[in-house]
């Protein structure tokens, strides 16, 4: 968590080094290839040039020999004159007869370039001159053209003409070119290692920067973001992914700390009750009956704690996806009637009417749906005054099956809507009061409840329906997919989300925007909730069914909310798709 560097762990070579080595290899290959190409084409071009010119010389001698086989005439004299110099001359010449006797040669040529050193010539080959490049002793390079001339002479009618061009200069030039090219290549490679490193370092600088930025963020600074700065395109995606992760972390951490606080609070009250009662009962001798009463009372608190633990466990299982929700077609009306039958007596007792209307089939887990419905109805019954009506509506709306619970209570203040489905959330600040006195939790709870009721005294003639928020849980396969990776999911969301209407027509699909809430199911509280603080959230809050749903709102008057008991009292509805 601290920004400290991790202990060294095995890692691969640095990117900068690898990049620059690759860079070097690439440039070396390119330079080598182009150097070889240029060298070869130079060499070939020069040789072709030399071969052509020496061939021309040999051809001209051949034509002279045709007329003057022993080069004793005027034309021969001219030839002898032309090839008389060895040192520094471009061309040297040797003419022999068919028996190998020298007819003419550039003076000193037998020293410099003896006949046996020249390529052998097939006397029958009378075509165009054959050219060969040869490197002789003293490192001189010659291009030799050999040809056979047919002459009109007694005893033998052939002359072998061999002309040589001294290409030493060109060869030296090419050699030095080759040498320098190699040197340049080596130096270039060394330089490109250095440049490559520099470039790679520079190019990777933003990476180091983003690392530093990430290191600065600790658990205490999860609100910071790194994506605000203009990162290079390659890193922008990383930065925004990192920011998304931070946002998720921040949400998770704050939810977790909120949850811990709430949980601690939730535990404190029963514990304080237990301690308080035990202390009081021990303060003086008691009769057996008194002890019995205390133990019984303690047992109640213990049960409460046990229930709380069980529900938390259940929630944890639901949220960790370990709980498989079985989906089956469920008769929505039968579900509603079940719940009504449970609450009917209680409602009658309080002078409240309970009405079930409509029908629809939903696909989902009957147990979880019933549980969610019970939370809503229980809340509705608690916050409806004598003479009021709690309605459970079952029907279809916009291609979805919807179960609505509405009451004639006072609604919830808008500010609370986004949070009413948080675990342990209470609309009133009863918690603050509750926490003040040690051992007074239960009493405080009761008084808080009374205070909550006060808010229910809605003015007569209040147009309830307009004020009653509708709680809507929408789910679909689509949103379920979204939900998988999003958000803390809730039982209800899943219970409901995984429900779908029975008839699988296309119209059953929820439009995407319906599902844009955090999770599977979007629970929505719409219309204007008014007034009032309700202590009764506490029960709702603890109820796993609702606790799980936290939400987001679509429209101005909608707060998406998972179902919470407290919400129920204003009016709730679930839609199942």
């Amino acid at each position: 968590m601290s920004g400290g560097r991790r202990a060294a762990r095995p890692h691969r070579a640095s990117i900068a080094l690898r990049l620059s080595l690759l860079f070097v290899v690439c440039s070396l290959v390119v330079m080598l290839a182009s150097g070889i190409l240029i060298y070869v084409s130079f060499t070939r071009g020069i040789f072709a040039d030399e071969a052509r010119s020496v061939s021309t010389q040999v051809e001209s001698i051949r034509s002279v020999l045709a007329r003057d086989p022993d080069l004793q005439g005027v034309a021969g004299e001219e030839v002898r004159h032309r090839y008389r110099i060895l040192e520094g001359a471009d061309y040297v010449l040797r003419v022999r007869d068919a028996y190998g006797r020298t007819v003419f040669e550039t003076p000193g040529l037998d020293q410099e370039l003896p006949a046996h050193a020249l390529p052998a010539v097939d006397p029958s080959h009378v075509d165009a001159p054959v050219t060969v490049k040869m490197r002789h002793r003293n490192h001189r390079t010659y291009v030799v053209a050999s040809a056979v001339a047919q002459v009109d002479a007694p005893r033998d009618g052939r002359r072998i003409v061999q002309g040589a061009y001294d290409g030493t200069l060109e060869a030296a030039l090419l050699d030095s070119y080759r040498g320098w090219t190699l040197v340049a290549m080596l130096a270039g490679s060394l330089a490109s290692v250095v440049f490559g490193l520099l470039i790679a370092r520079r190019g990777l600088a933003p990476l180091a920067e983003i690392t530093r930025a990430a290191q600065r963020i600790s658990a205490a600074h999860l609100h910071e973001r790194i994506g605000a700065r203009p990162w290079p395109r390659e890193l922008a995606a990383l930065a925004s992914a990192f920011d998304d992760m931070l946002a998720r972390l921040e949400r998770a951490v704050s939810r977790l700390s909120q949850f811990s606080a709430d949980l601690a609070h939730e535990l404190r009250t029963p514990l304080n009750n237990l301690i308080g009662e035990a202390e009081v009962s021990l303060s003086r001798p008691r009769t057996e009956g008194e002890y019995r009463a205390v133990v019984e009372s303690n047992l109640e608190e213990c049960r409460r704690l046990a229930r709380l633990a069980e529900e938390l466990l259940f929630l944890a299982r639901v949220e960790s996806d370990k709980l498989r929700i079985e989906r089956r077609p469920v008769d929505g009306r039968a579900l509603a009637e079940d719940v009504r039958s449970f609450y009917e007596v209680l409602a009658e007792d309080r002078g409240i009417h309970m009405v079930c209307e409509g029908s629809a089939t939903v696909v989902g887990s009957a147990t979880l749906l019933r549980r969610a419905l019970i939370d809503l109805v229980s809340n509705a019954v608690k916050f409806t005054g004598p003479g009021g009506t709690v309605r459970i509506g079952v029907g279809r709306e916009g291609g979805r099956s919807v179960i609505t619970v509405s009451d004639e209570g006072c609604g919830i203040e808008e500010e609370h809507l986004p949070r009413i489905f948080d675990r342990f959330y209470r609309v009133d600040s009863a918690r603050a009061r509750e926490g003040e006195g040690v051992g007074l939790g239960l009493a405080n709870r009761r008084s808080a409840r009374r205070a909550g009721r006060g808010g229910e005294q809605a003015p007569p003639g209040n147009p309830h329906h307009a004020l009653v928020p509708r709680l809507l849980i929408v789910g679909s396969a689509l949103s379920r997919a979204v939900a998988r990776q999003a958000s803390p999911n809730h039982l209800v969301r899943r219970a409901v989300a995984e429900s779908r209407t029975d008839d699988r027509t296309g119209s059953d699909r929820i439009p995407c925007d319906e599902a844009r809430g955090e999770g599977d199911a979007v629970a929505r509280l719409s219309s204007r909730p008014r007034a009032a603080a309700h202590q009764e959230f506490s029960r709702a809050r603890r109820s796993p069914a609702w606790a799980a749903c936290s939400t987001r709102s679509g429209g101005s008057h909608s707060a998406v909310a998972p179902v919470s008991p407290s919400a129920a009292r204003r009016c709730g509805g679930f839609a199942m798709c």
Binding site: E296, N298, D338, F342, V345, R371
Partner: protein, 77 residues
């Protein structure tokens, strides 16, 4: 003749079948309403009160007893 509603009858028959045994509210909810989890137990209390008003209140000997913190039991005391 005492007239009971269906649920009252279900509750009475549950208590009678397991008389002498303390039945928790959750258990009652489970058997009478088929609600197999902890839910609002006020409804159970109300139902028990109604049943009492019919089978206990008119008579000297009470049959249904409340065991505080535990539940209800039907027995002769």
């Amino acid at each position: 003749v005492i007239r009971l509603t269906a649920k009252e009858f279900a509750l009475l028959s549950l208590l009678a079948r397991r008389r002498g045994e303390i039945l928790t509210r959750t258990l009652i909810a489970e058997h009478v309403w088929d609600l197999n989890f902890d839910s609002d137990t006020n409804a159970v209390e109300v139902m028990v009160r109604r049943l009492r008003s019919k089978i206990d209140d008119p008579f000297e000997q009470k049959l249904i007893h409340t065991e505080r913190g535990r539940g209800y039991v039907l027995e002769e005391r």
